[in-house]
């Protein structure tokens, strides 16, 4: 029998290798938010004749109306994509008149405009939505597993796996934003929340088996129960994964180009979700039983202030026995803080 739990540190390492580049990109470059979140206008137009309009000329035209930081991209077939601050209807009409006058008539393929206040609200709401989803799921899992000892652990481990998947997807969006100009829009948020839902979905399937097996094999060590449960559900996990991969790949290959980034985000996120539920969420239950200190160190590394707080508290108030814990937290927090500090400095240099 394959010993998933015994090799868990390797699986953690794989997760880290996938997540860390995204995190670095996130800190260095942030996310490329679309107008859904920032407010602004996008005008996509196609000139009818072979017009000699240059992106710079269009940019200049927008500048004359006080839209200096407008970005203009041109692509084949006389198609131009113009991003600017929020255009009100009157200004838009005036600019359009000028475009026709200077460069000839065109067809408006798309126009999107979001007011800055709405954009800001949506962004706030988006964070709220992700937080709400996490809390609601934590509550639900704690409820569904209420007959197990330590139900909150199940919820927490599912949430950790979920955060892992969020980092994978958001990190990916950041990297692709730098490389290919991907934008984080309302659709991305939709994909993210779906990934969250699926991630928890997968975790619950494995947890359900652990729940059942811990009742049946009450005396066995937790490693064996968890490992056995993972193996038992592995066929299901792989097969379900395959069907989702089939359908999404079909969408990716044959679907329209407008959905490509959405589907790719879903695909990667859902694969990550299955991985994390098998190789992170479930082994973490074992970890919590055997080496809870490691969880604390990991948390300290990622969120240094928490590590600092917990470390100091335990150091000052705890018994002699808990000293190594406190030291571990403080060291992890220090390493985390130094890494983030370096990255932030680097970010300052880049910008």
């Amino acid at each position: 029998m394959f010993d998933t739990v015994g090799k868990r540190y390797w699986f953690y390492l794989i997760s880290a290798i996938v997540v860390v580049p995204g995190l670095i990109s996130l800190i260095l470059f942030g996310l490329n938010f679309s107008i859904d979140f920032t407010g602004g206008s996008i005008l996509e137009l196609q000139f009818e004749e072979s017009v000699v309009a240059q992106p710079a000329e269009l940019k200049e035209l927008f500048g004359e109306f006080g839209f200096g930081d407008t970005m203009v991209q041109s692509s084949q077939g006389g198609i131009f994509l113009i991003r600017s601050k929020t255009l009100d209807p009157e200004t838009k009409a005036a600019i359009q008149e000028q475009i026709v006058e200077r460069f000839g008539s065109y067809t408006e393929l798309r126009f999107e405009s979001v007011g800055p206040t709405v954009g800001g609200e949506v962004q706030q709401r988006a964070y709220l939505v992700v937080a709400m989803a996490a809390v609601a799921i934590l509550i639900y899992i704690s409820f569904a597993f209420r007959h197990v000892t330590n139900p909150v652990r199940y919820g927490a481990c599912a949430i950790i796996a979920m955060v892992h998947d969020i980092f994978v997807v958001v990190g990916l969006a950041s990297i692709f934003g730098v490389l290919y100009g991907w934008e984080v829009d309302a659709l991305f948020l939709t994909a993210l929340l779906t990934v969250i839902g699926f991630s928890v979905h997968d975790s619950i399937v494995v947890f359900d088996r652990i729940r059942e097996n811990s009742r049946r094999y009450a005396g066995l060590p937790v490693e064996d129960i968890v490992n056995h449960s993972i193996i038992q559900t592995l066929d299901r996990s792989i097969n379900t994964q395959l069907t989702v991969i089939f359908t999404l790949t079909a969408l990716l290959l044959f679907g329209g180009i407008t959905m490509r980034s959405f589907v790719l985000t879903l695909l990667i996120g859902i694969i990550s979700g299955t991985y994390s539920s098998i190789f992170n969420a479930s082994p973490l239950l074992v970890e919590w039983e055997r080496r809870p200190d490691l969880l604390l160190y990991a948390l300290s590394l990622l969120v240094p202030p928490v590590g600092l707080g917990v470390g100091l508290f335990v150091w000052l108030r705890g018994s002699e026995k808990s000293r190594p814990w406190a030291r571990g937290c403080l060291v992890a927090a220090a390493i985390g803080a130094v890494c983030m500090g370096l990255l932030l400095v680097l970010r300052g240099v880049i910008l």
């Binding site: 393929l109 069907t243 989702v244 407008t258 959905m259 959405f262």
Partner: protein, 493 residues
């Protein structure tokens, strides 16, 4: 045992009826439901509604243009929505969507609209329309005037008119209703005159009616072949207007939009019934009449609005994506069907039948509810196919385990279902939680794409629980009862 079988057969009957019903609804040529039974009249066209991203169109988020700390009256907001709906209907869009979003926003979606710019102008105008008492002085169009009407304040005339004591005239009827118009004759003048402005330099004109009393306006040729303007007043407006005109024959009344005079007209006779004709010597020019009518019809919104978000999608982009997504969906579905068949063999085939029923039921629901189909909505649907299969996979894997443990076929099937159920329930419920949160988020700022996705995924999850469990189980039980399947190999063991 017999009752068990009977129950299974009953379920099978229900499933067959449901599947046939769904298939009928899914027919592209479905004539819709038209039932006329005495008092019951049902007329529903059943068709798949396509969202903006699939057929092109315009989506606008309008926000009350008031200071953010000012609370917006919900009733006025509702009225504003209704007026916008009226204006939009004037544009001749097939399936417009106009809905309130939160306390101060209105979402307008106009699929397939050809001139989005003009549409926005049409409902973007936010004038306050008034009819004012100009006395005997003619006010040229464009004059800026001061009136007694404050924004959203009640018309000052209303109380004076309704209070008018009918007993003064010795009428036996004690009802002080506005509809008892005969008795009102002549009395308002005495009451109104004192309220007229005494300052001659800065005249404040009496507002007789405002836009909220107006029902409709048209232009047309009158008896003399001259262009006239007609408008219809609601009951309250008609009563006010009759009372006013009775006492002001020969005087001037002006239409004022945003405190600016649009046009003045002489009152020729007392007007009852709420239908009003405005004429002018020499008649109006066609253009002028049209312009006034448009302003009469569209001039008044109880709450000023501004365009906050605006999305226009060209139709060609959408058409292309729809076809591609449909192909993608078909390909994805076929691969899943083949996979299930190859891997789970006999039960896999049953699951495939259940999957087809699932797709038919979901599509029928989309048409019935109706769900506006968007690109992400299609993605949600395709994704939910995966979920539907997942429930079956969970069950079948469980069945295989039980079979391997040496249990009989019947027992293995029953335990496969009962043991897989908690994980199906819990995992699908967590997905439904996310769907609900997404739906709420989508409703908040009018992202119909997000809402469409949440809705289709949610419907898919719920229906999939039904088909993957009830439908597949009924099939399996029936076939085991028929005793044709003996070999475990058929179950992929």
């Amino acid at each position: 045992m017999l009752t068990d079988r009977r129950r299974t057969l009953t379920l099978l009957g229900c499933i067959v009826i449901l599947a046939l019903g769904a298939a009928w609804i899914d027919l592209p040529s479905n004539p819709g439901i038209h039932i006329h039974l005495g008092p019951i009249n049902i007329d529903r066209n059943i068709e798949l509604r396509r969202g903006l991203d699939l057929q092109g169109g315009l989506q606008v988020l309008l926000e009350a243009d008031l200071p953010s700390d000012e609370t917006v009256d919900p009733g006025a907001m509702k009225a504003t929505r209704a007026i916008i709906e009226q204006r939009v209907n004037g544009l001749g869009v097939s399936e417009p969507l106009i809905q309130l979003s939160g306390s101060r926003r209105i979402i307008v979606e106009l699929p397939g609209i050809e001139d989005p710019q003009r549409a926005i102008e049409t409902f973007g105008e936010t004038g306050l329309l008034e009819f004012i008492d100009a006395g005997r002085s003619f006010l040229p169009p464009g004059t800026v005037v001061t009136t007694t009407e404050e924004v959203a304040a009640p018309t000052p005339i209303v109380p004076t008119l309704t209070v008018t004591p009918t007993t003064e005239l010795g009428t036996p009827s004690p009802e002080p209703t506005v509809t008892g118009t005969e008795e009102v004759t002549g009395t308002p003048t005495a009451v109104i005159t004192p309220t007229l402005p005494s300052e001659p330099e800065e005249p404040v004109f009496e507002t007789i009616l405002t836009g909220r009393h107006l029902v409709g306006a048209t232009s047309g040729f009158g008896d003399l072949g001259l262009m006239e303007i007609h408008f219809e007043l609601n009951d309250e407006g008609a009563a006010l207007f009759e009372a006013y005109t009775r006492t002001h024959v020969g005087q001037l009344m002006c239409i004022v939009l945003d405190k600016e005079v649009v046009s003045c007209a002489t009152i020729n006779e007392p007007i009852a019934g709420g239908g009003v004709r405005i004429t002018r010597e020499g008649g109006f020019s066609a253009e002028e009449a049209e312009s006034i009518v448009i302003r009469l019809r569209y001039g008044a919104l109880p709450i000023p609005l501004r365009v906050e978000t605006n999305r226009t999608v060209g139709p060609t982009l959408g058409e292309d994506s729809l076809q591609k997504s449909m192909i993608a969906g078909a390909v994805g579905l076929s691969i899943v069907v083949v996979f299930m068949l190859l891997y789970y063999r006999f039960p896999g085939a049953l699951a495939d039948v259940a999957l087809v029923i699932y797709a038919a039921v979901v599509l029928a629901l989309f048409k019935l509810i109706p769900v506006v189909l968007t690109l992400p909505g299609i993605a949600g649907f395709i994704l939910s196919v995966g979920m539907a299969v997942d429930a079956n996979i969970l069950i079948f894997e469980r069945m295989k385990e039980e079979l391997r443990a040496g249990k009989g076929l019947r027992l293995a099937v029953e335990q496969g279902f009962s043991r897989a159920w908690p994980s199906i329930r819990d995992s699908n419920f967590s997905t439904l939680i996310t769907c609900a949160i997404l739906f709420w988020f989508g409703s908040y700022f009018g992202a119909s794409i997000v809402k469409g996705f949440a809705l289709t995924l949610g419907i898919g999850v719920i229906v999939s629980m039904f088909t993957a469990i009830i439908v597949t189980r009924t099939f399996l039980r029936l076939i085991i009862d028929l005793d044709v399947v003996r070999h475990h190999r058929w179950f992929g063991v």
